[in-house]
Amino acid sequence: MTTKKALSEKVKALFALKVEGIASQLEAPGVAMFCGSNRLMDIDEVSDISHELESLVASLLDSKDPTDISSAEMLALKAFFHNLSQKVLMRGGHVEDVVRYTQTVQFALIEALEKSSGVAFGQSRSVLLYFTGIFNELIMAAFGAYLDEREQTLQAQQAELRETSTPITEIWDGVLTLPIIGTLDSSRTMLVMEALLNRISKDHARAVVMDLTGVKSIDSQVSHHLMQMVRAVQLMGADAIVTGIHPEIARALVSLNIDFNTITTRANMADGLKEAFRRMGVTVGHI
């Protein structure tokens, strides 16, 4: 966005300024925020980011329109704060550290520019407003990195939860077990079904024991999903054995008019496995 408005004398002086040799004066906020007890960075690293920041600020002030927040120079500055935020978060820091750093480095920058030019930029409302606008954008960039990080963590946790809540195990050659724990909703059923059918194909499984011991309640939709899963297993050419149906679930299935005549059921996982082994001609007994 380009703003066409009259610039004050001090803002004009700021944009005409050649920024150099102020990096050392920008180090203090970095040292205070990142080199304290949290040990997020060492002094050399803070020195590097201060030099990079000086160079990016110089490019922005020297650009065609330093007030344009979508200019390439401004985008580079935003990317710098986004990456800095990512780095701090990855090292166990907090987004507050980066926000505080951004705020304090803003004042350190104005002070450094005053010293190097001899112009009292800190006394100019227009200059302060200009820097506030720029640094608000930079704080947003730092928060953007934090939100991206949170989103990625949440997605990774959800994927892990999905995987661990439906562990498909090949307990014997050609026999898979699938203990179902918790609630079976549409999206979860689809995921479990997809994983199970792919495992049947990959392992050439001939029997699947689906254990419902961990399912405490069932409704019409869930029972429908369950039937779909059993049918899909059978269509692949494998036997589906459903075990661990609680009495209240059995009662619910009857009242929901679900036909279990075509499905093999057993009281518990042990009986289900015995049935699977029997169908495969495997006998398991005491030695």
Partner: protein
């Protein structure tokens, strides 16, 4: 023996493998069923293995073809077994069929024979 879109091969005593090709037009199922059942009767077939390995998806139209062929085969005393159904096809099929299909299923021919 070949019928347009289908290839029928004897793989054992009374056992036949039906291999559909991409050119199979299941909309012409009445004619196809007549020709397949006529051949099965002629060769005294006992089992018909239908290979689904090249089919990534089974839609209601294709399912009605499989269902009709299995029922027709049953009438001439031939058991139809669909083999090598792909996970994606089983996934899709399980979502729209209401009851057990008219055909049997197996991962491989030897799985059924065992």
């Amino acid at each position: 023996m070949s019928i347009f879109g289908l290839h029928l091969t004897q793989i054992g005593s009374g056992d036949f493998l039906l291999d559909p090709s991409r050119s199979l037009n299941v909309r012409d199922m009445d004619r196809l069923i007549e020709e397949v059942t006529a051949h099965l009767m002629q060769v005294r077939a006992v089992r018909l293995y239908y290979d689904l390995s090249d089919l990534g998806l089974i839609d209601p139209l294709y399912y009605s073809w499989l269902d009709a062929l299995a029922r027709a085969a049953h009438i001439v005393n031939v058991e139809m077994i669909c083999i090598r159904m792909q996970p994606t096809a089983a996934f899709a099929l399980a979502r729209f069929i209401e009851g057990p299909p008219a055909f049997k299923t197996a991962l491989e021919i030897q799985d059924w024979q065992n």
